[in-house]
Symmetry: C2
Subunit: 341 residues, 2 copies
Amino acid sequence: MLDERKRNILKEIVDEYIATAEPVSSAVIVEKYESNISSATVRNDMAELEKLGYLEKTHASSGRVPSAKGYRMYVDELLKYDNISLEEIKYIQEKLENKADSIEELTKIATTTLSEITHYTTVSVGPKTSGQIIEEIKFVLLGNRMLMGIIVTDTGLVKETIIKFDEDITAEQVDTLNYYFNNKLQGEPIEKIDASLEEYIFRELKYSVKIIRPIIEQMKKLIQEEENIYLEGANKSFELPEFKSLELAKNFVNILDTKELMLDILNTGFAEDIQIYIGDENDNKDLKDFSVVTFKHSVGDKDLGTIGIIGPKRMNYSKVISVMKYISKKLNENDNFNKKD
Amino acid sequence: MLDERKRNILKEIVDEYIATAEPVSSAVIVEKYESNISSATVRNDMAELEKLGYLEKTHASSGRVPSAKGYRMYVDELLKYDNISLEEIKYIQEKLENKADSIEELTKIATTTLSEITHYTTVSVGPKTSGQIIEEIKFVLLGNRMLMGIIVTDTGLVKETIIKFDEDITAEQVDTLNYYFNNKLQGEPIEKIDASLEEYIFRELKYSVKIIRPIIEQMKKLIQEEENIYLEGANKSFELPEFKSLELAKNFVNILDTKELMLDILNTGFAEDIQIYIGDENDNKDLKDFSVVTFKHSVGDKDLGTIGIIGPKRMNYSKVISVMKYISKKLNENDNFNKKD
DNA sequence: TTTAGCACTCAATATTCTCGACTGCTAACA
DNA sequence: TGTTAGCAGTCGAGAATATTGAGTGCTAAA
């Protein structure tokens, strides 16, 4: 269907549009890329590419702009993802090495680094709590009327919460709590912290409701807790020419501000794969002028969080995806959090 | 200097400008507020008010707009701060009651509520760690090679960190750590966690550097940790007419994106007072078109965090400050975090 | 001190014009 | 059959101009 030259021209048009944000004319293609053929030939090919749905015009006598289908073809078949320099590799290595003390922090560092190198807005969420296996539960007495409840999971995730009481708690009570909770929950998925657990604890320990209830409540809250979204470089997007459109700028702020939407975007997609959503491929209409590229930080099938870039459809996919691939690889290699014991 | 009528007219002009975002003409003042006098009279007074620096014109034949000095006069002398309805009071009470399990969470809830009621963008930071008094330090063993270090301070603030080791830690070691750390630090300001502490621990405990060093490092990191900024309703600002100016919108995103600046704004100001910065009263030039209103959530002289509103200079100060005053009062009343023991 | 009245100012909007960057098409050419 | 030169036609962008009307300031009279 597409001969070599048309594929080249398509790629060149997308490259050029990504670089300049201006509709691309046959003349610049000849000038910059295809000095052997005439602009008329390019025009013929462009007309063809438009008929096939890869290109669009903004008006009858304008140059061409890639369509969503054009971007998709570009991303899937025309690009190579080795667009990363030695300096960038070094920089990433340095940033990711050793400095993080928790999975969440490592994810944050990676998110910041990604934004620094690509100059796009990046976002991330920590690991999903659901599905994780409880390795240890610990209650710690702080003062007389406060406990800290700590859950450690198999992926090295540590979650903790404060629990307050109206009466004093004794050290023995804490020991018993630790015993029964671990007895019941070690090796179990975190979802087991539920109503039936409450029953069990009530049955085994004869503590007052005033003690059991807040504990169960807080622990449930802890595992259901909405994940925190980490955002980096929102202002970088505002430097891009597409943000001259107030409409777009507003949509962008709306998107970033809507936690559910962000979580939704970040939580779809499979482990290790880089996911690319171009414009209206994402069915939220605020997103129609943006592209989102995400990947999961994971070990095996264990989700350790997701990192994403959000920017205009006219995004430098080559750079973005190249850098992501490298960071993704490094994150998995470097993973200190599971190789300890 | 300003007779009663001029003061009224000034207040009316600011009110009107806050409501409409359009320069205010002598005619509308007569129409809406001063039916007894003629527009010519109002014009004379306006000319006077302009000469005194309270009003400005956008061009020679335009209506008047408040100057920074005008806003200042308005805020300091012309407003009453009882602009809060029974429903709003109820709503705030409901939100602030009982639901928070930590100071930080309570501050977040207050921040969200403030944004919901005022429809402005709100921000907050948690309590400053520095200056707090250590009530208890606790190390908890998680697995064999991981500790959680927990600090509880006199204001009820709980900070915790994960510490990882390359060798196994024993329960006895943890006990000793707890003993020596508490021995040295209980009742001391949190800044005492420093180099001299490291020496002391080294001297008293003969543990290997491999154990002491990471602990001290993490604890130091914990108390120096940059406070988290909590942001709510950034998109609300973008609905305001001033954000039609791309310039302004960009500045706004820049401000919100610059953590140091936000922290700077939130950390100045004194306990309990409501601080108002109008336009260039704040010396950062990105802020020249915005106003910031902040207050501290505090108990006695103990800082529990700061909450602020950031919006256009043409802000509904009456509503904003009335609501803030009420929330501030409620936060201090409700304070569960110090009345326990 | 207040007011009616009028001349004047100036932003905002609409209107028209011009320019030139494009394309598509045709006809000739390799 | 694919390529190309050449030209007519399209249309957005920007400049130049005109029009409107919401304002003011000032003067002179009440």
